[in-house]
Symmetry: C2
Subunit: 110 residues, 2 copies
DNA sequence: CGGTATCCAAACTGATACTG
DNA sequence: CAGTATCAGTTTGGATACCG
């Protein structure tokens, strides 16, 4: 569970504590498109090792951002999706997206 | 100068490349209040070493987010402020702020 | 397939000392 | 005051091997 007493006073820092890691934001970005399997996620994110992806997903599960569903099949299937809290990060991702576009325009990318 | 060819295709990744570092966002947050001297910035951010703060400010200067002004005085005075591009991060900080507040409410009621 | 365990190199950090 | 230089200690990350 989430240890709310450990969260910083400043809301900005709270958010950073949860998603300042670059990979986490990219995981959210990709899961906003819908549920994904572990291997799909790994491919869609780009260059990320299995170890690091696993570690990030575990932490995000603990923080209540991501939901993990294991299917008792052979071969195994594990699906990841966003919780309501995770989905609420959409506005943050949108802000990052918009700013990134603006920045490219400012520095001169067509 | 900014190496625009090095920027990722995804605008979200572009933004992360520039400010995914926790300290950079806190620097922007604090400079949004106005120009600050090096030591003021260091105090307002919280626990950050001189070395790390310097490194972050240098990178942000290179990326066109922060402006550095040196006064030829004794003792020396160096003031940091946001460029227009840096100030435009206000919307991103706001999104992070709002989400952080919402998150606390969510985990608080649970 | 989706992990975990282990090893090792690289990166980051903190403390300290020194400078213009 | 606002840095730079240096070095030890810790953390992180990639590569590899193996398991349910």
């Amino acid at each position: 569970m989430v240890d709310i007493t450990a969260l910083p006073a400043c809301p900005v820092e709270t958010t950073l504590t949860l998603i300042s890691d670059k990979w986490k934001i990219l995981i959210v970005r990709d899961l906003l498109d819908g549920t994904k399997r572990f291997s799909e996620l790994r491919r869609s994110i780009g260059h990320i090792s299995q170890k690091v992806l696993t570690a990030n997903l575990r932490q995000m599960e603990t923080d209540g951002l991501v939901s993990r569903k294991v299917y008792a099949e052979v071969p195994p299937r594990v699906e990841y999706s966003l919780t309501d809290t995770g989905r609420s990060l959409q506005t943050v991702i949108d802000a990052l997206w918009d700013w990134g576009e603006q920045y490219k325009e400012r520095v001169g990318v067509a």
